[in-house]
Amino acid sequence: MSIGRKLAIFAAAFGMTPGLLLVLPAAEASAHGYVSSPLSRQAQCADKSSGVKCGSIQFEPQSVEGPKGLSSCNGGLNQFADLNDDGKGWKVTNVGGSTSFTWSLTARHSTRDWQYFVDGKLVKKIDDGGKQPAATVTHNIDLGGFSGKHKMLAVWNIADTPNAFYSCVDLNIGGGGGGNPAPPATTKPEKPKPTASPDKPKPTSTAKPKPNKPGTATSWATKTKYKVGDQVTENGKKFKCRQNHTALPGWEPSSTPALWQKI
């Protein structure tokens, strides 16, 4: 947990609550990150189109932080227990013998090393010697010794704290002998668990083009592609699109005058 401390530092820096200076905890890691490609379990939680339902991890896939040396997917954090559930219907990524793993980092803390485990066995360690991570962190891992479905645990060990960040990636390793990166196609897991709310339609992965006759206002909807001039209604008010975009939750016309003009 770092946000409280971030704010404390901020407050102290601005002299808002000088007393905080005295109670600041010792420095701790605020580095955050997770494997974003192929989609790790927490990335699937954050990817709302994945169809996997998760708890609070969906808003902070970068926060799976725990002491070094753990072998679980949730970094030992109860609130992220979803990540340990092998039967949750995680998408499995088809990979070849050699596969690139890319990390999404929200903060780039000095790094001891990166470790990749398959079924608990260390297959690769990249020593960073306490450096700050590169601008884009991508590692090519030879998985030639494995075939079929396996669970990879990717670990980011921070240099100057006792902590590490954990990401589990479900893989179907095929093609045998390494060297050839296979296109990252995926297979659906055989038995996806029924989701918690079957009445809710599964979010579609692509934006729907909206057949919108000029001058006709339709009800504003997320995931819809809007073009300049398209008209929508929201809570009885009419708006005209100023800029081509795909609507997202939080971008309601009434609160995004940069995208929508009230008419």
């Binding site: 946000i3 701790e28 490609s37 890319t102 601008a135 884009t136 100023r242 971008w251 940069a258 995208l259």
Partner: protein
């Protein structure tokens, strides 16, 4: 702890310099479309958490807008449209947050070196080498790097918003935090989708 104190003193020096700065600094590039109506002041109920949330989010968004600029200039058509929409919405949010802070007589330009801060547990910074990397890459490689950097950056904005939802007192700021939570988590989701097209 020594490092932390050093960082704090550095921040203090730094912020004294920044907070008295003129409004114009850095805002030229973040200009909102003049056709867009000017944001109105927020209500007068607020606490320190609201002020910090707005000040930190302004700093964070400004940095995000620099990343987004690369996407608007160099991305694929899909990435460009995405980046343009983020640009428009966040520029407006920044203006809105500034108006709210000014209405409370708080400094809307309180800012700091995000890189320095990031090293010590503060605002996660997207550093110069990330910017340089985005500047020098092209094509698919650029899209991938851009979306990866953006997913990280927007993920950090979410943390500020989650904290504000819990601790803030100002209804407008809390509503903004709710919308930031929704939009940024969806943006991260879109980044992941585009990064993993086959999945």
């Amino acid at each position: 702890m020594k490092r932390l104190i050093l960082a704090l003193s550095a921040l203090l020096v730094l912020t004294t310099g920044c907070s008295s700065g003129a409004d114009a600094s850095g805002s030229d590039d973040a200009a909102v479309d003049p056709k867009v109506p000017t944001p109105v002041a927020a209500s007068n109920t607020y606490n320190d958490d609201d002020v910090m949330f707005l000040q930190m989010t302004i700093t964070h968004s400004k940095q995000g807008l620099e990343i987004v600029k690369f996407g608007r200039e160099k991305g694929s058509a899909e990435v460009k449209e995405f980046a343009n929409a983020i640009d428009a919405t966040e520029k407006y949010e920044v203006e809105q947050m500034k108006v709210w802070l000014k209405g409370w007589n708080k400094d809307p330009n309180a800012s700091m070196d995000p890189n320095l801060h990031a090293d010590h547990g503060g605002l996660p910074g997207t550093t110069d080498d990330v910017m340089a990397d985005l500047k020098s890459s092209t094509g698919e490689d650029f899209d991938k790097k851009f979306l990866t950097a953006l997913s990280g950056h927007q993920g950090a904005a979410l943390e500020l918003a989650l904290n504000e939802e819990k601790k803030g007192a100002n209804p407008e700021s809390k509503d903004l935090a709710k919308r930031i939570k929704e939009s940024r988590s969806e943006e991260v989701s879109q980044c992941l989708k585009m990064l993993n097209p086959q999945q």
